[in-house]
């Protein structure tokens, strides 16, 4: 602490202004190289980068596989990823936008397509002169007509599979997927193959949904949800089968060591936590200032 105080005492703003170009030359071998390596599980995927164009398109997009590496530092962040068959990416539109009043918007399913980048199948949907991909539901097939509306009637609607309505418009016990977590916020839950949530009850302006992990969460009634179960229900029951197949799926070989504490081989049965209300999206974090120190060679991301 004493050294810090001493350092700040020596700082003079006048010298900084008059001789701004001056810098201390330090031999390279004495520089400490600190690299900030991100940790997995913070909302960034280290499997692939998708090269999105400026405008939405249904043309399958090119990807760059990352093999678990952080694209900024080039360091391995997520172990066990690499190789595999390269698949093109289908740009899925999760937001199902419909009219707030009047009859629902009608769309037609053109095709149900296998997508190698996700477990569920995707459906090509057409309306007007627009084409888009959505997550396919269990029994969706080409030629199906699906409806989308944001209107919440007094009596719950009788929805068919693939229709998208606000949670408040759907009756209790309806199976749903592609659930909007916060109204207007681009984050959707329940999109993996074979999963579904169930509307259990309603209170006030909130609707309680039991998500696939059996936890109950209350969402605002205007959150959009798609009726039915996500397609490819066999996915969970299908064994990988062989080490080669695992490599084809983009996983690297690993040791078969049994690790007691990972919880991989089952969890302890406990009472599920009480129902909670979905957390609203947080405010953006304030921008921090990085104070410089001449002998520290810092990467730009640190």
């Amino acid at each position: 602490m004493a050294s810090l105080v001493k350092l700040f005492q020596n700082c003079k703003i006048s010298g900084l202004l008059t001789n701004s170009a001056k810098c201390i030359v330090v031999p390279e071998r004495t520089i400490y190289k600190f690299i900030k390596k991100p940790s997995p599980g913070t909302g960034h995927a280290y499997r692939r980068i998708v090269h999105y164009p400026k405008e939405y398109t249904v043309k399958p997009l090119d990807v760059t596989n990352l093999a678990g590496r952080d694209p900024v530092t080039g360091r391995v962040v997520a172990k066990g990823i690499g190789g595999g068959i390269k698949h093109k990416f289908h740009w899925v539109v999760f937001t199902r936008d419909g009219p707030k009043e009047g009859p629902p918007q009608i769309e037609r399913v053109i095709d149900v397509i296998f997508d190698g980048c996700r477990t569920a199948k995707v459906a090509l949907v057409a309306v007007g002169d627009q084409l888009k991909y959505i997550i396919a539901s269990e029994n969706m097939k080409p030629g199906d007509i699906i409806k989308t509306s944001r209107f919440i009637p007094r009596i719950p609607v009788r929805a068919n599979e693939g229709d998208a309505y606000p949670l408040g418009a759907l009756p209790v016990n309806t199976k749903i997927h592609c659930l909007e977590k916060n109204p207007g916020h681009p984050y959707h839950m329940i999109t993996a193959a074979g999963t579904y949530g169930t509307i259990t009850r309603k209170f006030g302006e909130h609707v309680v949904v039991q998500i696939p992990s059996k936890i109950e969460i209350a969402f605002h009634q205007t959150c959009m949800a798609t009726v039915g179960r996500v397609s490819n229900i066999e996915h969970g029951r299908t064994p990988v089968g062989s080490a080669t197949r695992k490599r084809e799926l983009g996983y690297r070989p690993r040791s078969g060591l049994w690790q007691r504490k990972t919880g991989k081989h089952g969890r302890k049965i406990r009472k599920p936590p009480p129902m909670r209300i979905a957390k609203p999206p947080g405010a953006p974090e304030p921008k921090a200032i990085r104070l410089t120190e001449p002998t520290l060679a810092l990467k730009s991301n640190y």
């Binding site: 600190f34 090509l124 002169d129 084409l131 921090a288 520290l296």
Partner: protein
Amino acid sequence: MRRSAALFAQHGDFMFKRHWLIKGRRVPQDDGSEAYLKSLGIEVEDALEYVNRKPPLPKFVVDRGWLPQKEVFDHTHPLWKEEKCHEFGDENVLLEGIPQAQVLTKSIVIDGLPPNVQQFIKNIEIPAKTHTNMKKNVMYSCMFDAEQKKKPIKRTLPGKPAHYLPREYGISERRQSRLLISKTLRECDKLAGIAICSKRQVFTDALFVVPFKRYGDLIQMEITTESYLVAKTPIAALDTKSSTDNQLPDLLPLKYTISMPQENIYLLRDEYPIAKLFSHYHPHTIFLHFSPHEVKNLHETPVTESQLSSRSMLKAFAVAASRARQDYGEHVNDLEKPIVVQSIQLNGLSFQFGVFQLNTLNLGDDNGIKNVWFNGPTLPLCSECAYKLGRPVLAGYNPDVFRYIYGFYRNEGT
């Protein structure tokens, strides 16, 4: 073992630097000084930006001289227009296939070729020698030609998606179609004799461009045909006045322009490859080449049978429409003399036949007389044509295909 890490573990300098890394990242707290200074009319600037700022450098313009400027495809482009144009080209297919093509071209669809053409084809007798020649032609086009190009197909073994086989070399699909068309037409010439043969001419890679408005939307078709057979006299039209009462299919909730790319940069123009001065300028038959590697859906799923037929239909429409606009001018509506175009589309070794009759170019609404598309059969020329155990094999030759082609060649609509 490197001991420096252990030796420097308690090093004060290192510890200070580690500590600095954590504590050197600070979020500045707003103490209201900036707002206060602003209220006094004092401009506030970031200190670091002020120190680091550089005087603006004078812009150094390189005189490119005669070098052409790089074309920028945005609203500054000389061909940029506010109104978007829907385009149909050689590599497009319509999403909905035939029903969408019907709405787009205001046409009704009749299954099977026109009765007079069917009867004409039925009565044709082809000598055995011609079939022998045709078999030779097929084998030459698919196996014996000297072209060696890298084939586009990337085959994998079933059940082994990671295993890639080496790319094959051989005759390209386009070359195969081109040879097959030219050799088949030569057989037709030989069989028909000088009286018919002198009335026909063949053009390759003919370009047709036709702009039109449908329900107020601007559409431009720009297509080429692999071979374009023209005749001295036009094919006589059929009486299709009954088409007035027919209804066009309902595409709801789709719009009829779905899957047609829209562009702001375009040049509207009319193109018909043959001048009016030439004696053989009446459209007769178009030969089209289809390759699944060139013609694709935008979402990269295989092209369906209906989409394939609709491609043939739209191309025949474009040929007839460009011819009509050349003959009757840009503002033509219902045609005095309908234009008939026959179409043969090659998909590998399968042939798809059709006849289009253009009755009207009044495409503003759905009322009045409509155009007619006779959707003919799709026939395979042979079941197999490849080397087997080092020997060329042609199996399952279908003589009906040449009968249809020769029937189309001879047809004059009477």
